[in-house]
Amino acid sequence: MLILTTFLLSSCAQTPRQLEYTAKPIDRPDLILPKTEELEMRQVDWIIITPENAEEVFTSLKTSDQPISLFALNSDNYTTLSMNMAEILQLVSQQKAVIVAYEDYYIIVDKQVLEHNEELKNKEEDSGNALTNLFK
């Protein structure tokens, strides 16, 4: 009876399943950003007024039937304004170059990382096979 019970109980026992766990990096989602708008600049017309042509200019302005007011700059201030614009353009160009470089760098590096990981995976598989073969 005792032997029978032991057999019955032992038949319920089973070897626990061995769990396998492998950590795998998750792919970084692509950064999606809104596109910047293309500029469509408005044209600016300059009027140069000198003591000699002032009357002529004002007469010509009067024909437009609009109240006349001029926002004036002397040559020094015009030079300053032009230099400021040139420096803003310089900054825009520099920022653009930096953004393009970041983009290029990360695209190239991401590609290299993928290639490197692939290479590592292949090497690990090869050495795993070598280890298995060693003890065959």
């Binding site: 353009l89 160009s93 930096v98 190239i108």
Partner: protein, 159 residues
Amino acid sequence: MFILGKLKMYLLLALVVGGVGFGLWKYYEYTQNQIRIYAENAAKAEMAQAETEAALQKTLKDLEQVQIQFEKVSKEFETAEKRVDSLEKKFADNDINYLANARPGLVEKIIDKASLDVLRCFEIESGSPLTEEEINVTEKSKANSICPDIANPNYVPIK
């Protein structure tokens, strides 16, 4: 009595031989285990070395890219700076106040074109595509006076 004594001796001998045999077997098992561990360690060390080497190569490649991008951006910074320097030189070389007094109409045209050109530079930098006309420009008179390097790729300024 004599037989019993002999039997004891054989039993003792068998025990000794058995003990020695067991010891040898254990020793053999131990050495085999050691060999296996050393072989595994050697294989792992080789793998680690290969991985380290690969990581080093990867870092070197990254550094190469960093260098390439740095040089590329530095060159573009230099070009952008040259534009500002060139404009500064234009103002320094020409007395705009005198010229405007002498030929207001002509200076008006020049500064209107310069304003148009600088605005076009901003448009191009913001992503506006170049026109056929801009691409085909090879003469200075038709080139953008502010940023020919980006607006007119086929125009080569004479130095």
